[in-house]
Symmetry: D2
Subunit: 382 residues, 4 copies
């Protein structure tokens, strides 16, 4: 599996998943749950509330959006890919007045455009996708958050594919709600939304009469029942939670800096190989590319689905298709695949697959370039 | 753990949970998912659609209620405990016109009253809780479903604590939506709602303009994307799903009849012990008592929370408190605890706890009665 | 499983067993191996070498005996049960001159008799079984070791069923070789012999020209290659070793004193129940009974194998038969079964089984006596 | 891990290892044990007795040798590497009269030489190593067995690194004792010797007064107690055995032909890459090379230990050193590493390591050649 998430679980996480299931109200599990919250807070360097909602990150995103949005609220939605577009559809369906800045899918939002939007409009909520993973791009949320905060607006970040894999600093970057996924960079099972919520965001939710209550989508129920009173509003999946605890603990044990640097090193090696092979990466330039994956522009006419299925069925390697964007194939650099010669294996699969389909590339030059650019720090295995 | 759910996982299920996490769109996992659906259908003897929604069963219940209910719909809500009351609050908050039949918490709904309600009112939807677990009682959904269907109404059943543990036959009993939980009778991790949906229910949802769409709560998205087109609307928790598949497979291997008979035998032994000890069961009579647990009326004044916490902290045994109803303590008979001398261990804990708190009971007579009533079929262990 | 070993693994140990198998010469595994050695040393309060030989404890016992024994060596073998008898057969087959002190199987060796044997004979090696588990008895190795050392003899202890479950102090008690088992009190998988070897014992082995070398039975190979040079003489079972590390680590986390006290408390409750039921324990008196199990004398004529098989096949409870001694049934108090109401469940099974076979006992009085004598310290579960 | 064994466990095997530990005399486990025996027999296409001795394969080899050898027995020991040499030392230390045929370590035994040895000597036992893994070579046991049998001699095969990975047919090839390892081709935990024993071998053991009895090394105890009477002579490691059962079961599910063909295909791709890189394989020619690994001759002066440690510490890849032979580095093709682009990853590590140490090779040409030669059959992943 060399696709950009869900990532494989580490040995350490697998151990946790094999733990016999205990009672969710047992003090032992309550402490495991709180420890997972503390770990996520440490990874994000935040003092905001961490909320581990029960449900894949689509639940966290929907819960956050429904809790913050009410008919008539003025939203600025930043679109650089399909997830940003989908967020706009949600906002409109919840009754928001939506202004959008849209850039080509191989580009990233320009903070200057955000400033201009604030100059021209009253905006209460900014919504932005940290990484548009189908395109391999990254938006500068570290600059967008402070702009929004300076104008008194909240910022809600879809960090599904970045939280726990690259720096994301809600406090320093003034982000009010961030939503991540257990199954992406952390390599834990899907099933938990990893969220941060600022005091400003809680206040806005409390002012919103349509914020879900007595619902699986209620962030306020988690705030009032679990964070304030220590009672779960519903039964958490013990197995999924132990997976999150183990995976986050492993990140902290490795060290956040080292853990976040691995994808950067792997991405550099992969991109060297891609270019030496005669291919191009999809993002406009490397400064806006996510280190967690390399999105490669397919030479004219190659179908990404056909290519990925050919590679999977013939060689047992799972690469990422373009999720409907078209013309892109993706190699992930998350967790275990951010290290060693996984990028060479990924490029072997890609190169061999392209040659099988009749696309001419320079396989040897590409593989050698990647193999020579691999730059793992010397560390213990295990 | 001798509480009435969540139940402990069996060896077989634990094996499944330790399976390394694979890619959710891999054909191998798609087949695992479909196999889990087939297994649940086999346990329920149904040809209806089985929907395994991603989320603890509160999600399934909310999804079903929001999909069926629209402002002005006429609902008959049957109340014999706190879960029935909560359902009524939901229905009203979604804008339904709600008629309720409420019986004392130690009783069950009388089908004749349901008939009368239909005679006096136009009713579009009947909502009923199969087992009010805090009270240890069972409602006769096998009689209620046909009455509703005869009057053209849909029936939605909260089967959270019964699906997979005792007979529940959506087809034969004319039930339109049933919602169960992975972590109860099946002993799998929490995190999956196990649902059946009839053709009539799908039609009603499609006619409801407020039925959730593009939402974690959307049953119709699961119908259109997964059941019709084989694409997941969101990322399932592979670990949780493999747990469901393994747990349901084990039920079928043991045999549904034998598996459903175990709680009946254990409950009979437990109740013999309770009465010999000088205590009374809470349900008005055994014919309306759920075999999956024994709810015991605490002698005057004994606080259930204090008692359960005393037993847990001194003896490491988790019994069920009354979940706020008061005056009840509960011993579960699900999965592993439905066999062997688990009921004697549970009664030892209860009896010793009561004596520690100064309540006089006849411990020896009670334990002997239960031990003599244990009636396991001779079977292989493992 | 309420038999006296092999014991069930704890959640914590099961997690370790599910760890993906790594390379045995990897630094990570070497550190795991050394950590397991340190943990065993800490449990035994010893500064002697700990040797974790690859093979069930019969291998450790054979390796120790073959390493120490040569034709003509004068051995004192202490016999209070079948394992002591077997040791004598081994010693004779290896060419030793064997003196034996044998006591009835419901008694223990009297240290005064050991003194007398030394007074009358030149003895180089004393061999003794710490607990004759089939009989439920304990020999006073804490007194025998110092006597032997005072006379310049070595002491070799078969601690298969006691190491890690009750106090065993090689340094303080002057024991030269102790051999324990991973699968008994520790609840790890079978497959590792847990051994301590004193300097005196190493010297004796080095002087013995018949001590195994280049053999799976060679203690000296482990000493020279692994303890001195850090190279494994053969490939260890990574899974088994991680199980030992996890299990021993859990004992230390609980605390050795508390962990060793649990069987004592459980045994007291069990014996109270046995006697109240009208039965007798097998050991002559409680002062020589092992706390790790209760051996119960079966009323005249009851066949232990028939009884145990009846209980297993009808009630799914595994009690220990007499391993050929006859007339004894055994309930274990190791690991998880040393706590809570496991003794009541065990006595329920025993009592019900005896009644089924027509043996009259007072079931209620017995179960109540045991339940009232349960005396767990208040501790967290998990 | 790309070294030639121990191999990584598959998902399927890991599931088995996480199974809670049960009682080894339980009928459920007895059936698991017998099923593992049947599976091994099926993989070997044999009707001989399969003996699963408790202990890493060095135990099985020692047990077999001690059971067959007595002072004065005339043995022909075939030496093509260090394991063959070690076998000779054992035979002599057990008192055998040993004739040896030794060939260079990059060659294999010539059956004609075996014929000649029989013509010139009376020989009772032939000992041979199937694969000298440090050298990557294979001896033609399929021709040696029939020669020995024709002359009335027994053949004992060290198949530690081949059993379960490539064809080994005790019946067809007239082999009397074969000894394999659980942790090599099968990818199960170390700890079980997988053995076949012919009727002729049993007879010879019974005639040998020095064959171990009442010993961990006693094959005859396993024959008499377990195979004849169904009682274990000692406590097996349940975890290790379930690992063997699961791993062998997976081989049968994949199909023996396909499973044995995978290393052949991977080896072909690897060797194409090695040669394109400008390196040479160590075995004299491919017809005597084991498909389970590729042994590569290091260019003059490169130290294998330094190279392997450099690659491990910098890139996290474990290649096999020469185990003391010198001048060889090895890439394994067992289990999971026999598929997909693992050989390219292995060659990347090797090539990069050599370049780092200043050895000139043609990296790109080599990697491309290997990637183009990968030839996996299209199969489902999982």
């Amino acid at each position: 599996m060399l696709n950009p998430g869900p990532a494989s679980a580490s040995s350490h996480t697998l151990r946790a998943l094999a733990t016999p299931v205990s009672y969710h109200n047992d003090p032992w599990f309550l402490e495991r749950f709180r420890n997972a919250e503390r770990e996520i807070a440490a990874i994000l360097g935040t003092t905001q509330d961490v909320v581990l909602m029960q449900g894949e990150c689509m639940l966290g995103l929907e819960a956050a959006a429904r809790s913050l949005v009410h008919p008539g609220i003025k939203c600025l939605n930043l679109v650089s890919g399909i997830y940003g577009r989908g967020m706009g559809e949600w906002l409109r369906s919840f009754g928001a007045e939506v202004i959008e800045i849209e850039v080509p899918f191989n580009a990233a939002i320009d903070p200057a455009d955000v400033e201009s939007a604030f100059a021209a409009n009253t905006i209460e909520l900014v919504t932005v996708v940290h990484s548009e993973t189908p395109c391999g791009t990254l938006n500068p949320v570290e600059e967008i958050g402070p702009i929004a905060k300076a104008h008194g607006a909240l910022t809600m970040v879809d960090a599904a594919s970045t939280l726990g894999g690259i720096p994301l600093l809600p406090d320093e970057w003034k982000l009010d709600v961030c939503v991540g996924a257990s199954q992406k960079c952390l390599g834990a099972p899907a099933g938990i939304s990893l969220m941060t919520v600022s005091e400003d965001a809680w206040s806005a939710m409390r002012r919103n009469p349509l914020a879900p209550r007595a619902s699986i989508l209620s962030l306020l129920d988690w705030k009032d029942m679990w964070l304030e009173e220590g009672r779960f509003p519903l039964t958490p999946s013990i197995t999924d939670m132990l997976g999150v605890e183990a995976a986050a603990g492993e990140v902290l044990e490795i060290g956040v800096d080292e853990y976040f640097d691995r994808p950067r090193r792997a991405a550099a090696a992969c991109r060297a190989g891609v270019r030496a092979m005669g291919l191009e990466t999809f993002p406009r330039d490397d400064s806006i590319a996510s280190p967690l994956l390399t999105a490669i522009a397919l030479p004219g006419g190659t179908d990404d689905l056909e290519l990925c299925e050919h590679i999977r069925s013939h060689y047992g390697v799972v690469l990422g298709d373009s999720e409907g964007v078209g013309g892109i194939v993706r190699i992930g650099h998350m967790g275990l695949t951010a290290r060693s010669f996984h990028v060479v294996a990924g490029l072997s699969a890609l190169g061999r697959g392209l040659l099988d389909l009749g696309v001419s590339i320079d396989l040897g030059t590409g593989l050698a370039a990647a193999a020579l650019a691999v730059n793992d720090a010397p560390v213990a295995i295990g």
